[in-house]
Amino acid sequence: MAGFFKSLLQRFTKPDIDWDDLEAALIAGDLGPRLSLQIVEDLQAQQRKLHGADIVKVAREHVRKILPNSVTPMSKLDGKPKVVLVIGVNGTGKTTSTAKLAYLLNKGGAKVVLAAADTFRAAAVEQLEVWSQRLNIPMVKGPPNGDPASVCFEAYDLAQRTQADFLLCDTAGRLHNKHNLMEELKKIHRILGRKDETSPHEVLLVVDATTGANALQQAREFHKIIPLTGVIVTKLDGSGKGGVLVNIQQELGVPTRYIGLGEKVEEFQRFDPNRFVEELL
């Protein structure tokens, strides 16, 4: 998380602007070649008015405008559990983020139940179970290779019975181009709807900050299957800048809600667009 706008600032001190260098820096943040080019072209159009040092400011403003003013916090519902479905491709950090979100909500005074709906991957249930024990948050699991939808169904019962505020469902990783696995996700969605037709109330796509252009494709495909209400960008403690979240916001209008900043449970925050453009990106 070097903060490429900051390093840009150091490079663009001269009055003449190296456009290639600027484009390179934007692309390096995984903003994608098209958006990067768009920014460069916009800037070039105002070239006469600009000084090298203004470039950073203008580029930053450009990105900031795409992002929303503020990000909606995770509020409780009245008298019933709020169901949060956590989805995404393999290995992005769904299970870890589910635990982190549970911890955050729990710390804020909410009562949380976890559903271990990845019945497929080796030791996926055990992984969430370790978190559930460490955090002392109840978890519902099913038999190995069982039906993930029925795990969520049963977990809903527990959440309702114990008057929990949130039910967080961790699902198996699935690549968005696998038809059967996407159908399975639809089924989870459908079954949860039987308990409460407005459920799931939140569908969060977990995206790895290390991912390049494919992250947008992932978001597009998942969004087609189940409308997303937010994105969690993980691994921002690495060198990935998570620029793709800007593309996802721009094209699909789906805001980033949380960010992951490490493997530890407390290394998780609500997304702050201002901080993102000023420090992270």
Partner: protein
């Protein structure tokens, strides 16, 4: 079937029709499209730039073939160049027994799954794989490898309960391997970010103890512009001997592989094409080049011309 890139190149090259040779001025639109295609496939900015320069030199002055379109022709030149970079050397694993393989990479790249896949593949070759769990951080990482080992009927070495010191766990594992007699030991390490100096130096200690015959960097096909930094840092720290790209059953174009190959100079050993343990394949540079360029069967067409 032609791809988007070829379509765009057709536009760029419409002007070229009727001209005898590819020249600096008529090639520039096409090169811009190719550059965009490479960047959209997540090829590193600088790697893409150097590549385009090299190809431009080669393309300039080439006769425009009559039977294919110039767009197809230039894609073919690019394809050949990519194929050369991706697969110019043999990618055999060192399979003499005893030997050892160290698996390294970012969090969630697919190291544990690929360790199991390699074990399955080695068994098929008539070798005796051993799996060693060295991830002490991720919850249930050890159990994950144990479950996979059981499925494959491959012995798995697990750290002592409550062990938190990776160096001590590695020493114990080496003693275990010794006892097992001949075999190929696959060491599954914890995922780490390449900017985490503490975790990198820990990995170096493990490497120094294990003295692996192969050190494989496992990377996700969807990796973005971070690829160069990842490959550089892991290579500097533990000297990798090869690359494995996972999740190529997705639709990521996988341009990161080109960057990683370029900066490390190390060959691609295998690719992962699914979550199951038998979904490991040998690497085909030609297919990968086509995938990165996002093209159809242009190559066959041009070769026939």
């Amino acid at each position: 079937m032609f791809s988007l890139l070829t379509d765009k190149l057709e536009d760029a090259f419409r002007k070229l029709r009727g001209m005898g040779k590819i020249s600096e001025s008529n090639v520039s639109d096409a090169l811009r499209e190719i550059r965009m295609a490479l960047l959209e496939a997540d090829v590193d900015f600088k790697v893409a730039k150097d590549l385009i320069e090299a190809v431009k030199q080669r393309a300039l002055g080439e006769e425009v073939l009559k039977t294919v379109t110039p767009g197809q022709q230039i894609v073919k030149i690019f394809h050949d160049e990519l194929e050369k970079i991706l697969g110019s050397d043999a990618s055999e694993l060192d399979l003499s027994q005893p030997s050892s393989i160290l698996m390294v990479g970012l969090n969630g790249a697919g190291k544990t799954t690929t360790s199991a896949k390699l074990a399955a593949w080695l068994k098929k070759q008539g070798k005796r794989p051993l799996l060693i769990a060295l991830d002490l951080y991720r919850p249930a990482a050890v159990t994950q490898l144990q479950v996979l080992g059981q499925q494959l009927n491959v012995p798995v070495c697990v750290p002592a309960p409550g062990e938190t010191d990776v160096v001590r766990a590695t020493k114990a594992a080496l003693a275990w391997v010794e006892q097992q007699g001949l075999g190929i030991a696959i060491f599954d390490t914890a995922g780490r970010q390449e900017v985490d100096e503490d975790l990198l130096s820990e990995l170096k200690k493990v490497r120094d103890l294990v003295k692996p015959t192969e050190t494989l960097l496992v990377a996700d096909a969807a990796t973005g512009q971070q690829a160069v930094s990842v490959a550089n840092r892991f290579h500097e720290t533990v000297t990798i001997s090869g690359l494995i790209m996972t999740k190529l059953d997705g639709d990521a174009r996988g341009g990161a592989l080109l960057s990683m190959r370029q900066v490390t100079g190390r060959p691609v050993k295998f690719i992962g094409v699914g979550e199951k343990v038998d979904q490991l394949e040998v690497f085909h540079p030609d297919r990968m080049a086509q995938r990165i360029l996002g093209m159809g069967d242009v190559v066959g067409l041009v070769e026939k011309a």
